[in-house]
Structures are given as C-alpha cells and as structure tokens.
C-alpha cells in the first residue's frame, strides 16, 4: 500500500518576486556604490589618472596627506575650512530650523502661507540660489549690504574677503571697532556660505514641525496643571521630546556640510578663492581628481574624511545618551 505522501499533490515553490523587483536597485547599488566604494580603497594606494591603469605606490598618498596636515597646506586648509563651515552651519541651521518650526506652529492666520514661504528656499535649485546670493552679497551693490547700511552697519566684504569672522583677525577687527579704530567689516567668504546654508533650512524646519505635532498633548496639559509657563513647557517638554529629531538633524547636517560642493564651486568660480578661503574638502577632492588627475590622492583624502565623519557621528551618538530622550514605548 502506498503511503499517504504519494498522493500528496505536488506543490511547486514559486520563486519569490521580491528579489526580482529589487534587482534594479541591487544592481545599481553594487555597480554604482559598492564597487566604487571598494575600488577607491585600492586606488588610494595607487597613482591613478582615470585613463591609465592604476600603479601601486603603497602609502605615498597617505604620507603626502600627512605632510600637508603637518605644514597646514592643501588638505589641511580644506579640512580647516570644512570644519569652520560645519561648526557654524550645523548648529545654526538646527537652531534657526527649530525657532522657525516653533513660530510656524503657532495657530495664526496664513499659517500655511508662511510655512510655504519659509520652506521655499529648500526647493530652489542650488545653482540658481548660488547665483542669486552672488548678487545679494555683492559688496558694492548687493542688497544685503544695502540693508545693513540701513541698520547703520558697515558694508561687509562677503565673497571678496578671505578672513572669516570667527578668527583671531576677526576678533581684532571687532575690538578695533569697539575702540573706534576701524569699521566693523567682519564677514568673509566662508561666512557668506554659512549664511546661504542657513537660508535653506526648510528641510530641517519641516522635520521639526512634524515632530512637534507628535508631542502628546497630555504632557503639555500635565505641565499646565503643574503651573509651567511657556518657557518651562518648551524647556522641559518640547525640547526633550524633539531631542531625537535634533540628533537626526545634527548628523544629517554634518554629512551635508562635508558634501557641500555646487554652491562653493559657483561662488568661488571653481577655484576656492579668495585666498583659499572657500577651498572646502569636496572642492579640493574634485580639483585633485578631475583637474589634476590625481585620483589616488583624492581617494586617500576621501577615505580619511570618511573615517573622520564616522568618528564624529559615533561621538554624537555616544553623547546622545546624555541629552536625547526617547518616549517610552515609542
């Protein structure tokens, strides 16, 4: 007698369509992200000009970068400029984004209109925005200096001045102005770039707005019952509840500042000038790879910055345990 299993209908296992649907992305990821990522490690140990096969030169590229870091030239200038930009742009963008989100959460007439207006700069193409800012920041005829003049503030040199505001020279200019020795011409090219980045704060503002809508009303009601005022509610309810989003915006902002390229390229006409003040990491890498054809050196530089970025992100996550609060059950 045949066993029952002989009469069991044959079930054909149909292949899962999931990988098939994901295959365009998987192929794209492997070819356009994973492979170049891995290849750049090898290239960083090579002399490679994009056209001829890479030639192994050991750690020469890394030694050259170390030499530049020692002398404060090339890569060191690019890192210093990028750090200046990140240290000013990231916190300012978070603060301005948060303040705008709070203001735009107030139930006032025309709320949707104001939200659109403040978000609009974030959707303007970076090339158009950069050219617009070139006009606005023109030291002689720009609108920004015109408005500052109304407020009795001296014309700033913006994109023509290499010296940044937050520097020893900037402090000297400020103290000299206090003593009545000179005009208060503080802002340099890098400060102009920071101003531009703060103008396009719409994305983080929208994220803050969404997160604020997610804060449970019961917390505010409890705070009101406890007699908390506006500031206390903000300090002890809103801010802690938004802290995961602040962490997110900080990390994303850090990555964004390191990747900033198009605006710098346009503002400095692809040179990093005035006086190397706009030579940020991405521009230095681009010029090394595609103008000087030093793809090996550029790859080594990219890897060092990648490691630095990972370390900074890890540090942010490490510190987050002291200031980021996650809702129970969330």
């Amino acid at each position: 007698m045949a066993s029952n299993s002989q009469f069991r209908p044959t079930v054909r296992r149909r292949p899962s369509p999931g990988p098939l649907f994901a295959s365009p992305w998987i192929i794209g990821f492997v070819l356009l992200v994973a492979w170049p990522f891995a290849a750049s490690i090898y290239w960083s140990f090579c002399q490679f000009d994009l056209i001829n096969p890479p030639q192994w030169i050991g750690t020469d590229n890394y030694e050259r970068l170390a030499g530049e870091l020692r002398d404060g030239t090339g890569f060191a200038v690019a890192l210093r400029n990028t750090a200046y930009y990140a240290l000013l742009s990231v916190p300012l963008s978070v603060i301005v984004g948060l303040v705008l989100a709070i203001m735009l959460s107030w139930p006032i007439r025309g709320q949707a209109f104001y939200r659109t207006v403040f978000y609009l700069p974030a959707v303007i193409p970076v090339v158009a925005a950069s050219i617009l800012w070139l006009w606005l920041l023109d030291p002689a005829d720009g609108m920004v200096n015109f408005l500052l003049g109304w407020l009795g503030i001296a014309d700033q040199n913006w994109l023509t001045q290499a010296r940044p505001a937050v520097s020893a020279d900037g402090v000297a200019t400020f103290t000299g102005w206090l003593a009545g020795k000179n005009e208060l011409t503080l802002m340099g090219a890098m400060d102009a770039l920071v101003l531009m980045s703060v103008w396009t704060v719409g994305n983080s503002m929208i994220i803050f707005l969404a997160a604020m809508g997610d804060v449970p009303k019961s917390l505010y009601e409890a705070a009101t019952i406890d007699g908390a005022g506006w500031w206390s509610k903000f300090r002890h309810v809103t801010l802690p509840m938004l802290s995961p989003v602040i962490l997110f915006n900080l990390v994303m902002g850090l990555i964004r500042t390191v990747q900033t390229f198009a605006s710098v390229y346009i503002l400095s006409e692809g040179t990093g000038q005035p006086g190397q003040s706009l030579l940020v990491f991405s521009l230095h890498l681009f010029l090394s790879a595609f103008s000087d054809l030093e793809m090996g050196y550029a790859s080594a530089m990219a890897w060092i910055v990648f490691v630095l970025l990972v370390v900074c992100t890890l540090l942010l996550f490490r510190t987050s345990r002291y200031w980021v609060f996650y809702r129970a059950g969330a």
Partner: protein
C-alpha cells in the same frame, strides 16, 4: 475579443508611428540614405553663444569644400567637457577631435590621453605646420619637443587705456611700471577715502601674476629641469609690486571694487562709461584681451549713432620695470587635440589644417575676422582680408603684433600644469588679500608645495 480590441488598436497605432518615424529618420539622415558616404569626423568643442555660430559656420564651409570627410560638431559649453572626454576614452568611444583652452597639453600628453601630431600627420605636414605657426602658438602645443596640440586662436593681453582721461590729468601712455604707478596714484590718490564713487587709475588683478611675472623677467618653471620656480626673483618682484597696491589702497577696498566689475550689466567692459553722461569707466587703464576690441567698437558706434561725444581709447603693451621683458605677457588660446582611440585621425588632421588656414589662409582670415580671434600664423595675418580688418581696428593690430613677440609665454606646457596654475593664482590671491604677508615667503611655500606634490619629478 471585444475587450482586447482597444488594446490591439493601440498596439497597431504604436507600430505604425514607430515605422513612420524610422522611415522619416532615414529620409532626413543623408548618411543612412547613402547620399553622404563621406567619413565622419566627430568634433567636440566648448564654444557657446555667438562664438558657436562662428564655429558652425567654419564647419559648414569645411563640409561644403569636402568630398572625403564630414565634420559633426558637438558643442559642450561649461566645465564638463573634460570629464566626458575621459569617460569616452575609458569607454573606447572618444571623439576624433577636441578643442580646449585649459593648460592641459603637458598633462594629457604625459598620460597618453592625446596623440602627438607626428603620429597622425605626415612628416611634411608636421614640418609645414611648425613653420606656419607663430612662436607663441607653437609653445602652446609643444611638449618635450613634440607638437601635441594645434593652436587655432591666440589670446593675448595688453593694457587698454582711456586716452581722454589720461590727457585730462596730463599723464603719458604707460611705458614703464613707474608710469603705470603714477597713473594709479594721480587718478585715485590712496589717501583719499571716497572709493565707491571713484574711478581707479589702475588696479592689478591677482589672477594676472602670470602676465606680470613674465614682464618682470620671471619664469614659473625651469625649462631645463622642469622644476617649479615660483620663488624666482622676477616672479617675487612682480608679486611684491602687485601687493604694493593692496598696501596703498587696502585689500578690502580693492576686493570690493573688483567685485563691482562682476556685477556690471552683461559683464560689460569696465573701461567703458556706464551711462551716456559719463566719459570715464571704472578704470582709466585695465589689462584685458583682444576680444574687448569688439566691445569698444560697439560702444563707439552706439555713441556715434546717438550723436554723443565719446572718449578716445588706446592700447599699449604691458609696461616694463627697468630690467623687465618688453612686449611680454601671458598668452593662451584655443587648440585642437586628437584623443587616444580616435577613429578618424586623418579626417581630424584635414579639418585642423583647414581651420588654421595652412593651405588656404583666406579661410582662416575670414574665421578670425568673424570671431575677433588672433590668427596663429603670420601667413593668415598677411592675407588681404585680415589686413583690411586690421586697418579698421588698429587696436587689434597691436594685439597681433604682440602675438608675434618671443616674450609672450603660455603657462608652461608640463605635467601638472593645472595644479601649477591654481597654486600660482592661490598664492597671488593670498599675497594681495593679506598685504601684511611676505610675498617672497608665500611664493616660496607654494613652490615647496609644488615640489612635494611631485611636480617636476614626474616631468623628468
């Protein structure tokens, strides 16, 4: 069946449209119909705007003159021609001919990106071309004694001046550096304060250290060893002289005023008055290239048509210090290169010869007159059409005279030239932005940086 009818109809309609497009495309493409069996030369260039029309016109004339080759010009204005070219070479499908104006010949030659002319042209052709060219045009394309790029238009710089303003102040046309300094000091005294409404006499531009370095007798690379010499005494003296202007007027004032040049409507020539009431532009004397002759002509014609008085303009070579080079300066230009892997090198050579006017200088003269370009050969300059143009435009004639000078130098045609160019310009910008810095020290540091990057060593 009924349900499938609309789908069937849609598919049939699509098939008909596709078939019709195919037939139409064949009808419109002369190569596909077999009417044009000439061999195609794919030509990439960077020209846009009015210049693109001039290029298209040259291509049209060439194609009409040809039974064997047909040039297809592809314009790639902007900064991405280089990256696209590398990708096309790596992908095995490069164009047959490329036109460039960046200092890349040395770099690309050393890396085997471009082919030397002696590999794609006959010995007689190469000799004839070498003999045909101005020295400056030859220098632009020659690397290690071989011609890798064929120059088809020179860009020379000189000093334009507003004669009426100089006369008004009793100042002579600048022949020496002292003359130029006197013009600057007289028209805009450094101790005066109201710079915004001021017309400057002269202000050096940090990007022009290339030109002044040569005028002051300097060299940026040692021709025998190929090592960088940014610390050359001539280059240092030029940088110190330029920095003296920052010390006199203040770096911020100069930068601010210069930024105003960029915001002029249509980037107009700052030598020219902006309004009908004015007789002076932003500068009395300014360094610029031959393409500004067209701007001056347009300005004078406009004033004449409106019956308005116009100032007189002139042009002179860059003034010299006591031990400097006469008729010297920085020359660059446009040049053809044939990339490695090009399929129709013979066609590319024929088109290059046509453009520069090797066998028919009249064609090249016509192109240069239309485009306002400096010919690359005395043979083209001597052609009657071009001579007639020079009679109409005496300022242009001075540029042509300078183009023939042996003291006109390009950025050295060596490996790493783009890095050298950037390093020099960054150093000059730093020197002028920070008047308190020691120019010699900045240049010395820049030079050491170049050596450390492998510049010069690779050249050997």
């Amino acid at each position: 069946m009924k349900r499938n009818l609309p789908r069937l109809l849609a598919i049939t309609a699509l098939a008909v449209v596709l078939a019709a497009s195919g037939i139409l495309a064949r009808a419109l493409n002369p190569r596909a119909t077999g009417l044009d069996d000439r061999s195609e030369v794919v030509f990439w260039h960077f020209w846009g705007g009015d210049d693109r029309d001039v290029v298209d016109e040259v291509v049209r004339r060439y194609n009409e003159s040809q039974a064997r080759y047909r040039v297809r010009a592809i314009a790639m204005p902007g900064n991405n021609l280089q990256a696209k070219l590398f990708l096309s070479i790596a992908g095995g499908d490069p164009p047959d001919l490329v036109n460039q104006d960046d200092p890349i010949v040395g770099d690309w030659a050393a890396r085997g990106i471009i082919l030397p002319l002696d590999e794609i042209a006959t010995r007689d052709e190469t000799d004839a071309i070498n003999e045909f060219l101005f020295p400056a045009a030859r220098k632009l394309g020659t690397c290690d004694g071989r011609l890798f790029a064929l120059c088809n238009g020179l860009d020379v710089r000189a000093l334009y001046f507003n004669q009426s303003i100089l006369d008004q102040h009793g100042l002579p046309v600048p022949q020496t550096i002292d003359d130029l300094d006197r013009i600057a000091r007289t028209i805009a005294p450094p101790d005066s304060t109201d710079f915004r409404s001021r017309n400057f006499g002269y202000l050096p531009d940090s990007r022009r250290l290339w030109a002044w370095g040569y005028v002051f007798g300097g060299d940026f690379v040692d021709p025998s060893s190929g090592t960088p010499t940014l610390d050359n005494p001539g280059v240092i003296r030029a940088a110190q002289w330029m920095q003296a202007y920052s010390k006199s007027y203040g770096a911020d004032t100069i930068n601010r005023f210069r930024a105003g040049d960029q915001s002029l409507p249509g980037k107009s020539f700052p030598l020219l008055p902006l309004t009908n009431e004015e007789q002076a532009g932003r500068y009395a004397v300014i360094m610029d290239g031959q393409w500004r002759v067209r701007d001056i002509r347009a300005f004078l014609d406009r004033r004449q048509s409106q019956s308005l008085a116009a100032p007189e303009f002139g042009l002179c070579p860059l003034p010299v210090p006591p031990d400097g080079r006469r008729d010297a300066g920085w020359v660059n230009g446009n040049f053809f290169v044939v990339p490695r892997g090009a399929k129709n090198t013979r066609g590319a050579v024929e088109f290059m010869k046509f453009w520069i006017g090797l066998k028919n200088p009249g064609q090249a003269a016509r192109t240069c007159v239309t485009g306002g370009w400096i010919p690359v050969s005395p043979s083209v300059v001597e052609h009657r059409d071009f001579q007639a143009f020079l009679e109409r435009e005496p300022l242009f004639a001075e540029f042509v005279r300078l183009a023939a000078s042996p003291n006109q130098f390009p950025i050295p045609v060596v490996t790493g030239a783009p890095l050298l160019k950037r390093t020099v310009e960054q150093a000059a910008s730093e020197i002028m932005s920070h008047p308190e810095t020691d120019a010699a020290e900045v240049l010395d540091q820049a030079n050491r940086r170049m050596i450390r990057s492998g510049f010069g060593a690779r050249h050997e």
